[in-house]
């Protein structure tokens, strides 16, 4: 098992290095270079030279590359060009908001999806199955930001239960924090729940059809034990895969949903920095979002070992 985990961690680090390198070269591949893009067409040569010097772009490429990597290791990501705040500060402000929304979204999504999938599969072709299937089908057809707007209109504007704009940090108390992330969290969680429900249903249906389930029945196992000890454990493996892959959906959804609810999270930071051509912020945000994503994938990979003994005992080539 430890061999497997080490291998996954090494892979995650490799991917992060690849992302950092891609971002490094991608930035330098911008037509006209970032300096031109930042200063505009009629920049004076002195201004260009000065900014190049400030950003260290006048040094040889390998030196820049090594510098960039060492700066990354100590989390020094430079200074924002538009606001002259340090990029680390900006990100430290934005990241908790995005993580709160995303985390709440995943929580809501799984809390809905797994029971809904189990209910649909165990009541195949009954009313509850149809309802779950249709709702899930609708769910995968709606972008998160549209779900967000619908929620804001119904629960924010019409019913007035939740704020439709802004974010309250956890330090101001649990309740204000929860109230500000409920709607965005659900908006992000709904499309996620839809995808996972579909997978949970089809996976459980497949398992319920297996020989060993009949064996369990013959052995005289009761419905509940049979369902939970035999069926679910096997059915969950593909569900975890999908739930892991679809975290990308949550992260992508958070970026758009933040804008719906006027929350200055990583998504807002990223979009604003692109529109303002604030490249130090852009690259740091992309790196951080990638980092979060790679880390979550790593957690999913490790979660497999808890569920699938074939991996735990090193039987599976991973």
């Amino acid at each position: 098992m430890w061999r497997y985990v080490t291998k996954r961690v090494a892979h995650a680090l490799f991917v992060m290095w690849l992302v950092a390198t891609t971002v490094f070269f991608g930035l330098r591949a911008i037509p006209g270079g970032p300096i031109q893009a930042m200063l505009g067409q009629e920049a004076t040569p002195e201004a260009v030279r000065q900014l190049r010097g400030e950003l260290g772009l006048d040094r040889p490429l390998p030196v820049q590359y090594v510098d960039w990597m060492t700066d990354l290791l100590v989390l020094d990501m430079g200074t924002s060009i538009t606001s002259s705040a340090s990029v680390t500060t900006l990100i430290a402000q934005a990241a908790p908001r995005t993580l709160s929304i995303g985390g709440f979204g995943v929580f809501v999504g799984l809390a809905i999806a797994i029971p809904a999938g189990v209910i649909a599969a165990t009541n195949k072709n009954q009313l509850s199955d149809y309802v779950a299937t249709v709702v899930a089908f609708l769910g995968i057809s709606m972008p998160a930001f549209f779900v967000g707007i619908l929620l804001a209109i119904v629960f924010g504007v019409w019913l007035g239960w939740f704020p439709v704009i802004g974010y309250n940090p956890l330090s101001e108390g649990l309740e204000p924090w929860l109230r500000s992330i409920v709607l965005p969290g659900i908006a992000v969680g709904m499309p996620y729940a839809a995808g996972v429900t579909r997978m949970m249903r089809s996976s459980l249906l497949e398992v319920l059809d297996q020989q060993y389930m009949r064996t369990a029945l013959v052995k005289g196992l009761g419905g509940q034990t049979q369902l939970y000890k035999h069926a679910l454990q096997n059915a969950l493996i593909p569900v975890i895969t999908v739930a892991g892959i679809q975290l990308a959906l949550v992260l992508g959804g958070t970026v758009t949903v933040e804008i719906v609810f006027g929350i200055k999270g990583l998504g807002r930071l990223l979009v604003d920095s692109i529109l303002d051509r604030d490249y130090p912020v852009t690259q740091a945000t992309i790196l951080l979002i990638s980092g979060i994503f790679v880390f979550m994938n790593l957690l999913v990979d490790i979660a497999y070992t808890a569920i699938d003994p074939r991996i735990r005992y090193g039987g599976e080539e991973a």
């Binding site: 991917v15 930001f145 707007i149 892959i245 990308a248 992508g252």
Partner: protein, 327 residues
Amino acid sequence: MSNDHELGRYKGEFGAGEVPPEYEVEETIEEHRTLATRVVSTLKRDKLALFGAVMVVLFVLTAVFAPFVAPHDPDDQFGFMKSPMSHSSGDFDGDGQAERVLHVLGTDSFGHDILTRIIYGARVSLLVAFATVAFAFCIGTTLGILAGFYGGIVDSIIMRYVDFQWAFPEIILGIGIIAVMGGLGVTNVVIAIGIAFLDDFARIIRGEVLSIREEEYVTAARAVGMGDIRIMFKEMLPNAVAPLIVQATLMIPFAILAEAGLSFLGLGVKPTTPTWGLLIADGRQFIERAWWISVMPGLAIMVTVLAFNMLGDGLRDAFDISQEEVE
């Protein structure tokens, strides 16, 4: 086989020359059915897929004939933020007489008729979606065929890249590419989402190529001296095209959602273009006064995506492709 044949030669023996009926093996030749017949028979059987197909055709026709279908010009301005099924009165066509104009879905904050904007928006959405999937299809398929056909180091490099990209949020990748290309517009959106989607095609076709690489017709093609390129694209690709078509159908709704997302963020097409994503973004500021501005285009996205998903699910069943193979 040959044994049977020899047995038949002994005269007078049982079964000479003929096989007793109970041992007769019914010869089944797998009937070749063209792509079109398979699709048609699916649509006849699967009502949901048929419904999806009809909707898709309707959307495409609406988009193509937008100027004839739409009640107004997308830039015509009427009363601001009129609710659905309301009228605006005034002289809009400049003939000196006031008219009453019906707005089935209301008007937006600029006084544009929302139904008209949605119909014109269908053009951009569908165009971008088809172009994106075509782009991803061409490049992804080429990469996947090369990887599967040559194997070895080519395979390793291409598939490492594809795996890397596969494990990455598509919208973030799209945003990153837009940032590097540094500009808004349809072409950039197509390239950005197209690159973000090519991994799926590459993975699928590679798997197919690996499974047919050792088939006799490929060996035969090599024996008669066909070049690699011709074997890959004339012999293998046509035999592996079914899952790709299903995948393409399933990718179109994702492309529509991705385009809407980018436009919503203001990183998509130019701000004056009528698109669904921009309409929603525009209406966001006015949800307290005019909910319909963002809800109507959102519903348009939902219905379109739903139709493509229904069609895609039906096609997947038709070609008997497992859910794991395509997403």
